[in-house]
Amino acid sequence: MKKQVFEGIKIADFSWAVVGPLCSRYLAEHGATVVKIECHKRLDLLRQASPFANNTPTPDSSMFYGKINPDKYCVTIDLQHPDGKKLAWKLIEWSDIVTESFSPGTMKKWGLDYEEVRKIRPDIIYLSTNMQGSGGPHSAYSGLGYNAVNFSGFTEISGWPDRMPAAPHGAYTDLVCPRFAALGILAALDYRRRTGKGQWIEQSQFESSLHFLSAPLMDYQVNGEIVARNGNRLPGAAPHGAFPCKGDDNWIVISVLNNEQWQNFCQAIDNPALSQQKEYATPGDRKINEDELDKLVTAWTLKHTAEAAETIMQRAGVPAQKIFKPQDVYHDRQLKERNYFIPLKHPVMGEQKFEMQSCYILSKTPRRIKRPSPCLGEHNEYVFKELLGMTDEEIAQHIIDGTITTEITGGMKVTL
């Protein structure tokens, strides 16, 4: 097998939930050795998050955790205990990169923060990712992406003008932030290769998310305009939105962006007279009469299945797309052809399909998933013995004194 770009890069991954683990996932998929440090006393949130394989919640059967953590090793350490911290230090000394996603101050409380680590390892690359950064009046707030979508401003602009704000799907900021964190790590690796120096990458998830709201922010900054919730409508384009089709809850998105597409649309619905109507002559006219126009469009789409409507529109040169449901995506021919889902056998969940994280394929060193997500503490022996060179006796002592954790004490709560 060919070598991968990050082969030989070692990561001690103290992060949990989504942002940190998704970031280290990129590096794992391209060959890095990632050891995820967890604990039986306080389970990673995602081990307690649905969906669970076979609808059976156990710490090892969450596919939410599974999707984010394949190709990683998992050890379990009690970081509250001084001897547990010694184990953490062994991993830090072994690693090139340390990642953590706790609230600011947590790693410092354990004496494992960047300032402490750099004293021993000045070349370490250390990522801290948290809600609002590690300094400033709001840095101490802990939280999840479900909170960040609100103070970032996504919720305010999502939904319809006459209805309450609607949060975007899921903990949206969690899915945005790991990409920036991974990019920061790449830059730091390059800098270290050139200078031998490590550094601290400190990520505010608030700031990372604002990249995607620049237009509304600028509108306010430049003109004092407040962008309002506008459903599926787009300034200057009509018809533009999701329209119901034949059957139960089937939809098509139609997006007419200019006059040529409007002419095509009128041909597609076999209503050439419509293209001559002055109420709908220009984009401006169509925006003024958009409510009436949407009724006309709906009357047509309701007579067709989403697939048929899509074919008719696309053939006529009108941007249109059936709205996919999860099963449509899962069985999509394009994804299948590109081997997007990788089937792997997991010791608890059985065969599951794991998704590629990289949305790109490097020609010489393609993305790869070799192992499924780890069970809790699955690699204690492998990591402490094979990677860190500890003896069986040492490992046994840590298990006896509870600093390598083996038993769930706090119970398993399904949280999400």
Partner: protein
């Protein structure tokens, strides 16, 4: 990034603001040739 913090040195450029700086300064195109390119509308 603690060792290499980002820095904003310039605002976004005006359109064509750096024609001379790049064509003459970076690429070493002569004034005479630049005038010719301007006359032809290539710049």
């Amino acid at each position: 990034m603690s060792e290499t913090p980002l820095q904003y040195r310039r605002r976004a450029p005006l359109i064509g603001e750096h024609n001379n700086e790049i064509y003459a300064g970076e690429l070493g195109i002569s004034e005479k040739k630049l005038n010719l390119l301007r006359d032809k509308g290539s710049i």
